[in-house]
């Protein structure tokens, strides 16, 4: 499976009379796009659009998802497949265009207490990768017939559909750069570099339920047994977020679209190792599910002849057990592992960081201690609602001060300790 990804670098984002892409400038026709969003679900009561740019004294919260506008130029299927009638084709082949450097963000009244904060300047901006992007922010409210699950589903759909709608602007554009990614069917891929070690990626997805869900081709991954993907499928949105776990280490849909470990693995494919593909697995809460899924991960890795694997976690605590089971079973099968996680080591970093441990986990990448407290200065503009600061994960009574400044764990900052290694934060023994 071969995919060409053409990036169009967006350097300016503004509202205008019609939605256009000219050169590196995107203009959005606000009224038309608001109408488009309102049409998505009749339970939507209010839609507001804002633009938040790097360096502005702007705070966005509570942020639910961050999505990248993409469009299929050629090849089968649709971006974010499996949700709508007639959109069941397999994706990951042909050509896809990306509006690089801009995002579509969703906010509104809180869904699950674990949405995040994005500051476009100040200390908070250092901790989120989305302070450097041009953000089109949708503030969307729903009527009171909606429970939390309905609310989540509506906001999720709004984010994905809007990003797809904006992405259409890139369809006929000339790309600033084109990157080609290719993975062959298993036997051919193995034969392509017979002398190199075979490596793969174990992609753990949050599936604890109760608003801790992730979707694969529209299927809630709670209901899957681990399965195989070509790495390019995720670039067309095969995996998208539906979860409200702690903002620092949930994977926004944009991070799945740009899945960092997949992109980094492709860099040395054919020189240092043979990158065979991806096993996608879940993090269900029952012991039976954990055992079944980790057994399947090891089975599929052996079946594909892997010598080594990178395993990434999403979330913390309960999924630490899945991480450790995957590690033990892969290492037990003779497959070398590198684990990618983050830490909950206490405000001062004084405690043990994970809820489970294994001596086989001798190669761990840490994306930082989520319990560290930061001081966020007051901002001039707020998009969304800051009344939720004290109650979101990472906040405590009194986190939000009367002057608008905030004292909070970085747990509450979107993407701060992203466990796909999207950002640069780490922690060391000091």
């Amino acid at each position: 499976m071969k995919l060409e990804v053409g990036n169009i670098h967006v350097e300016e984002l503004a509202f205008g009379n019609e939605s256009t892409l000219s050169g590196h400038r995107v203009e959005i026709d606000k009224g038309t796009l608001i109408n488009f969003i309102r049409e998505i679900d009749h339970r939507i009561t209010e839609v507001k659009l804002d633009i938040a740019l790097p360096g502005e004294k702007t705070r966005i919260m509570p942020v639910k998802d961050v999505v990248e506008p993409r469009v299929k130029v050629s090849g089968k299927g649709h971006i974010f497949p499996g949700r709508n009638a007639g959109e069941n084709d397999i994706v990951g082949e042909g050509r896809t265009h990306v509006l690089k450097g801009m995002t579509v963000m969703t906010t509104g009244k809180v869904v699950g207490f674990q949405e995040g904060i994005i500051d476009m300047s100040g200390t908070g901006a250092e901790y989120t990768p989305f302070s450097k992007t041009l953000n089109l922010v949708i503030t969307c409210e729903v009527d009171d017939t909606c429970n939390q699950y309905d609310h989540e589903q509506i906001l999720r759909t709004v984010g994905l559909e809007t990003a797809r709608e904006v992405g259409k602007l890139a369809k006929d554009a000339e790309a600033d750069e084109v990157n080609t990614y290719e993975t062959l069917p298993i036997l051919e891929q193995a034969a392509q570099y017979p002398d190199l070690p075979k490596v793969g990626y174990v992609y753990m997805l949050q599936s604890q339920g109760l608003l801790h869900d992730t979707y694969l081709y529209g299927v809630d991954v709670k209901a899957i047994v681990p399965t195989l993907l070509y790495p390019t499928e995720v670039m067309d949105g095969a995996i998208f977020s539906g979860n409200c776990v702690s903002a620092c280490d949930k994977n926004p849909s944009l991070v799945h679209q740009n899945s960092p470990i997949i992109h980094e693995l492709y860099k040395h494919h054919g020189t240092k190792y043979n990158f065979m593909g991806v096993i996608v697995t879940n993090e269900n809460v029952t012991l039976a599910d954990k055992e079944r899924s980790s057994n399947w991960v090891a089975k599929l890795a052996v079946q594909q002849g892997w010598d080594a694997a990178i395993v990434s976690e999403e979330g913390f605590g309960n999924p630490d057990a899945d991480l450790v089971m995957n590690c033990n079973k892969l290492e037990g099968a003779g497959i070398k592992t590198v684990l990618v996680t983050d830490e909950y080591a206490g405000n001062q970093g004084e405690s043990q960081s994970l809820a489970d441990s294994t001596p086989k986990g001798d190669a761990v990448v840490s994306n930082g201690n989520a319990n560290m407290i930061v001081e966020l200065p007051a901002m001039e503009r707020l998009i969304g609602h800051d009344t939720y600061v004290d109650m979101i994960a990472g906040g405590t009574e009194g986190s939000l001060r009367a002057d608008g400044s905030i004292s909070i764990e970085i747990q509450a900052i979107t993407g701060a300790t992203n466990e796909l290694g999207f950002h640069n934060l780490t922690a060391r023994q000091g």
């Binding site: 490596v199 980094e264 010598d307």
Partner: protein, 346 residues
């Protein structure tokens, strides 16, 4: 920058062990090792006051001593607290560490120095920057410049010290956030390549190792078994004859219960400082069940109760001490032909 320096009676020139009960004394300017430290920091910082306190006084009246030092801090308003160096003097090291913890509670930095095996390091390493020294005061000539270097760096970097190895302080066992040059995904691939190639790599999070001990196989028959009692609940003969510490035990005790059927208020008590001792002091059988085991011995359920019991205090006791005590006690039980032991904790 104003420094408040904490030293003990010996370095405060009040005397040796005979002056260990010297209460808190506040003196203006540097005293003893503070002189050399002050000279080394000339132009950057100054020791405005020195606290001299006896090691026994501090450790036996910790709460009062801490309160007194807090009052002095409130009055002197230092920018930095320096304590020691304490080398391998246990009580002094614990006092320096406790002063560091107080400083942290008050939002003040503390820099001290001690030998890595000083219990003050293990107990308080997370709340002070501790320079490594050798185990005796003969190392003063090196310890003072090393502490001065760390203090100078602390001042220069506005309190934002780098990692332990680069700055010259001992690891605090804290997880510290920092921004890496490469993103996590790229570091993961680098680590994968190194691990595949059998090259050296450094994990970013050394996983904690839980020391699991496989249970001994079940006894075939209790009737012939010799059972011993071992506790970390601090049960000792009345008066605590070996002075087992109430916290961070440095020793364990080995005591006879030959001819004793019941532990009473007159015969036994607990040395433990980490739980409410009232019930155990009234009747130590609740922690070390001698009475019940004597009954079982008489009823013939067990062969016999070993006539020695082993005891220490688990409160704040380091894993390294615990391991050492455990190994020695196990060997003694094996030598005495004990078939099984009951371990009680609190």
């Amino acid at each position: 920058m104003r420094i408040l320096h904490y030293i003990n009676q010996f370095f405060g020139q009040k005397g040796g062990e005979e002056a260990a009960n010297h209460p808190i004394e506040l003196v203006e300017g540097p005293v003893g090792p503070g002189g050399a430290l002050n000279a080394a920091l000339a132009g950057k910082a100054e020791i405005s006051h020195t606290i001299i306190c006896g090691d026994s006084y501090f450790n036996e009246n910790e709460e009062v001593a801490v309160m007194g030092i807090k009052e002095i801090i409130d009055q002197v308003k230092p920018d930095l607290i320096v304590a020691g160096p304490a080398f391998n003097a246990g009580r002094y090291g614990v006092a320096c560490g406790r002063v560091g913890k107080l400083a942290a509670e008050l939002g003040l930095p503390c820099i001290t120095g001690m030998y890595p095996e000083n219990p003050g390091y293990d107990l308080y390493k997370q709340t002070a920057y501790m320079v490594e020294t050798k185990n005796s005061a003969a190392d003063m000539r090196k310890a003072i410049p090393n502490m001065a270097k760390l203090i100078a760096s602390f001042i220069e970097k506005d309190g934002k010290l780098g990692m332990p190895a680069e700055e010259g302080y001992m690891p605090r066992n804290l997880r510290i956030n920092m921004f890496a040059e490469k993103r996590g995904a790229a570091r993961a691939v680098d680590m994968l390549i190194a691990k595949l190639g059998g090259e050296e790599f450094t994990t970013e999070y050394p996983m904690p190792v839980f020391d699991r001990v496989a249970p001994f196989k079940a006894l075939a028959s209790l009737k012939d078994a010799k059972i011993a009692l071992v506790t970390s609940g601090g049960v000792v003969p009345k008066g605590n004859p070996d002075h087992i510490e109430s916290s961070s035990a440095q020793k364990y005790g080995e005591y006879s219960i030959e001819g004793i059927d019941d532990l009473t208020e007159a015969s036994h008590e607990t040395a433990h400082g980490g739980y409410d001792p009232v019930k155990c002091n009234e009747n130590s059988d609740v922690v070390l069940p001698v009475d019940v085991l004597r009954d079982l011995e008489k009823e013939g359920v067990i062969g016999s109760l070993h006539n020695m019991f082993y005891t220490t205090v688990g409160n704040g006791t380091s894993v390294s001490n615990s391991k050492k005590f455990g190994a020695e006690i196990a060997q003694k039980l094996l030598d005495a032909g004990v078939s099984a032991a009951i371990l009680t904790s609190t």
